[in-house]
């Protein structure tokens, strides 16, 4: 797979000069790096001495490896590099808008999490105080998560 010769469409640079083979190899290498990093982390974590903190792993995976992959697809495969400004706006504005919506909610989760923990403790304490049966106290948490393995 190499860059195919394309006819010259004056004023329309899209589809031109996309180094397909190089981009394909870059995408494969980045994906391979993601999986390798995850596997190394998993093995070292299960052995009890993870080679890097989880936060660092998340940042490296998301910013260092996934973001470049997404950028390659968006810029070259979807031709944003060669598009007019209107198309670039159509592509980026919804993304920015949704980030703006999600970000405030993210900050909320920290508060909700704290409240959830407090509520859980209050509910459990209430059950104990009322002398309820043990089964009530060991009901599934209110988030619906089961402790049983899959």
């Amino acid at each position: 797979m190499t860059t195919a010769p394309t006819p010259s469409h004056s004023g329309r640079k899209h589809e031109h000069g996309v180094p397909l083979l190089a981009l394909f190899i870059a995408l494969l290498l980045l994906t391979g790096a993601e999986i390798a990093l995850y596997e190394i982390y998993r093995h070292t974590e299960q052995a009890g001495h993870s080679f890097m903190p989880k936060t660092a792993l998340v940042l490296v995976l998301l910013i260092g490896l996934t973001l470049p992959k997404a950028a390659i697809v968006l810029i070259y495969f979807m031709h944003l590099k060669f598009e007019r400004q209107l198309i670039i706006l159509l592509a980026t504005v919804p993304l920015l808008m949704t980030f703006l919506v999600v970000l405030p909610i993210l900050s909320d989760t920290l508060v909700l999490k704290g409240q959830g923990q407090a509520e859980n403790q209050a509910v459990v304490g209430q059950y104990h105080a009322e002398g309820e049966h043990d089964a009530h106290a060991t009901e599934e948490p209110h988030d619906g998560r089961s402790d049983e393995p899959y």
Binding site: M1, T3, A4, T6, P7, H9, S10, G11, R12, V18, L20, F24, L27, L28, T31, E34, I35, Y38, E39, Y41, R42, E45, Q46, S50, L57, L61, L62, L65, T66, K69, A70, V73, L74, F77, M78, R84, L86, I87, L90, A91, V93, P94, L95, T98, V102, I105, L106, D108, T109, L110, L112, K113, G116, Q117, D143, G144, R145, S146, P149, Y150
Partner: protein, 209 residues
């Protein structure tokens, strides 16, 4: 600000005319419509991913992808990711060759993309079957709900893309595309690359971290 020049130029331009009618912007209506549709898709998937992140951060416990209890099959999904990346490349290959007048290679690229896309959907169905066997179902826990919701909607998008690509492949072999008639391939390609882009993000967020 005058749009007179691009307007006149746009209507005369053979490549733009290949996309149908043209706005004053000099961009085809089809391309603007596709990008508007993709904009709504961006918001849709960002909503799902945002909800996942909010739910995950809001929980006291969450299954750790590094633990032995993690139900998802990473190597199988890595292979699937490889297939989806390949399909994006074969589609770019197809479009480039159709634009260059190499109809045979263009059709071959379309056929390859359709087959690889079908393989992706097949592997995802197989993964679902395996997970069901192991008891990881949408009602298993909140992670199960999120997992099936996000990957299910993405899989549905891929399936729709495969159908569209199959139609394009048939059209290609029927000689419908040429260096001046390739708009359906380009616009479907935008959709397909977007689906690939979403998977690139989902794979890391759902499977690896």
């Amino acid at each position: 600000m005058s749009h007179a020049a691009p307007h006149a130029h746009g209507h005369d331009h053979p490549v733009l005319m290949a996309h149908g009618s043209v706005l004053k912007t000099g961009i085809s209506n089809g391309k603007i419509a596709t990008w508007l549709f993709l904009g709504s898709e961006v918001m849709f998937f960002t909503g799902l991913i945002g909800a996942y992140i909010v739910l995950r951060l809001g929980q006291d416990t969450w299954v750790d992808p590094a633990s032995k209890d993690f139900p998802l099959d990473i190597p199988l999904t890595a292979i699937n990711t490889f297939f989806l990346i390949c399909s994006s490349c074969t589609l770019v290959y197809a479009l480039q060759h159709i634009q260059a007048g190499n109809r045979g290679k263009g059709n071959l690229g379309l056929l390859a993309t359709t087959i690889i896309g079908g393989i992706f959907v097949g592997i995802q169905a197989y993964e679902y079957a395996l997970l069901y066997e192991h008891g990881f179902r949408p009602d298993a826990d909140i992670f199960g709900s999120c997992f099936y919701l996000m990957t299910g909607f993405h899989g549905a998008h891929v399936a729709m893309g495969v159908i569209a690509l199959a139609v394009l492949t048939v059209m290609g072999f029927a000689g419908k595309f040429s260096p001046t008639e390739f708009a359906p391939v380009e616009l479907t390609g935008l959709y397909w690359h977007f689906v690939d882009l979403v998977w690139i993000i989902l794979f890391v967020i759902v499977y690896l971290i």
